[in-house]
Symmetry: C2
Subunit: 162 residues, 2 copies
């Protein structure tokens, strides 16, 4: 039960303790989730932004491998279970008001973290400092996929939702 | 109106176009927000995770400075307006399913991005690879504040909520 996992964390009793104390008291949102940014320990690149519930956060801390909560599948998910692209945790940080997590990881296998086949999920950039309109085109920052998603995931449903 | 800002983006018509196309069609959540991770262009450090609504994203793209949506104050917020710690945008990326933003920035003034006075909001780490319990203590990764929040913010209400 998620409540049992939540009991591993301190209650949030004062802003001072949350911001300047040593106790771990993460804030989960109305869906029981906390956002997590994951960066590559070697390149410092942002690989992905995911979400954790209390169970995923406890399992990540205890195992040293990244667990997330899949919002499309509504389940805790051991990253790399299907693809072999596990994320070995080098460091876990938490922010000032303890409502965001930052994981630094080493990625297994081909080193990719994106289900589309790129290394980072952030393979496109948005041109800036101009009035934007519908003609604005995203720019590709990664030219080639690192793996073939069909080979790796087969007919597993695509997690991207419209 | 937020709807007018949303009209600057394409509608999400197919998963294929969202993931592998050139059109910008960000997905805002049920509160009209998209999460944004912000990193320092010089150190590659994660400075903060914030949220943008359509207006904040448009203003960030058009101005080249970071705008966020403050959930505690429920308003669009030009980062650094009070503190002088503006974030000059070097690059804006968007992820595979276009529901997360990554900003790379140069920070003005003292270079800090955290309202508590540290450089990064992620100034504490969580020890890992052990069974966690309530005795687990966060570890300080930044030893000293970069600025004095009372001097900079005066009696502005603290954005941290319990």
């Amino acid at each position: 039960m998620s409540e049992d996992y939540q009991k591993k964390f301190h209650k949030r009793l004062s802003v001072e303790e949350v911001e300047e104390g040593n106790t771990l008291s993460p804030k989960f949102d109305e869906n029981g989730l906390i956002p997590c940014v994951t960066t590559d320990s070697k390149t410092n690149e942002v690989l992905m932004i995911g979400y954790m519930n209390a169970e995923a956060l406890v399992k990540t801390i205890e195992s040293g491998e990244a667990f997330y909560f899949s919002r499309s599948r509504q389940t805790v998910w051991h990253k790399g279970q299907t693809s072999g692209l596990t994320q070995k945790v080098k460091e876990i940080r938490i922010d000032d008001d303890q409502d965001s997590i930052w994981l630094t990881v080493d990625v297994g296998g081909s080193g990719a973290s994106c289900h589309v086949g790129y290394k980072s999920c952030f393979y496109r950039s948005i041109p800036s400092e101009n009035q934007i309109n519908l003609d604005l085109e995203l720019k590709w920052e990664e030219k080639e996929k690192v793996f073939d998603p069909i080979e790796v995931y087969g007919d597993t449903p695509n997690p991207t939702k419209l």
